[in-house]
Chain length 123, copies 2
DNA sequence: TCCATATGTCGAGACTAATCGACATATTTG
DNA sequence: CAAATATGTCGATTAGTCTCGACATATGGA
């Protein structure tokens, strides 16, 4: 991931409405949500929300797909992984002794049962 | 980590000079760098840099310590871990099947040799 | 104490982002 | 094709950010 893309992603998430939308869409993985539902959920006018969704899309954090009259938005989990990777790998900078403890601290949070990684990876 | 703090951190990193400063300070862990050196390194006036450093400090990403006439800035690696954790754990939201592959993808990047985690954790 | 060095604070101008009413476009239904 | 629904675009206003000159504060040495 390049710095320019990372800056777009950071800027997109540095706004409370957009951060909330992003989290909402992650909760609704993998079905996604139509733009109108998102706007209603956040109590924001549809055109304001449209702008926010465009920012998140340009940042590569979400993606849109037309489904009849509605446009369904979905979080791009790859983007989360890339951004977290940018944060962490960047710290490495050829110095795993700095980065390793960060990873070590992150790992136990999301591997509650054995085999979870392999199962999910099949997706 | 709370959303408000995460927004401060995202906003701080969503600016090229500040992102570069943050990366520079991580390279210079654990000694840190005086404010003047940072400004010269980035070819930015000292007062402009002072403002950027204040933003990064308020966001909790770096910390300052006076050392005679100079003020030494250092990256807070805890903050990187917390921010990456916010990004990733937030995705979990009680759904490890989403989060596990993210972690799995992140882990190999920074564990080039066996025991690196344990060694570094001693620090 | 006076000067040099190192850094921070203030204020103004330029630029960018956020919000939302009004209008435009796309899709389905009658 | 007309009306209803769902979403996007435009333009204006307001608010916030970035930058930097000028000034202020803090430290060390002559």
């Amino acid at each position: 991931m390049e710095s320019e893309q990372a800056i777009l992603a950071f800027a997109a998430l540095a706004q409370s409405t957009r951060l909330d939308v992003f989290r909402l869409l992650i909760e609704h993985e993998p079905e996604g949500l139509p733009a109108g539902d998102i706007a209603r959920h956040m109590a924001v006018p549809h055109n304001t929300m449209s702008t926010h969704l465009a920012v998140l899309t340009r940042a590569g954090l979400i993606e849109a797909e037309r489904h009849s009259r509605s446009i369904i938005y979905r979080a791009k989990l790859d983007a989360v992984r890339e951004l977290a990777g940018y944060l962490v790998k960047d710290c490495c900078g050829g110095r795993p002794e700095i980065c390793a403890p960060l990873i070590a601290d992150l790992t136990p949070c999301c591997t509650p049962r054995n085999g979870a990684i392999k199962e999910a990876a099949h997706d």
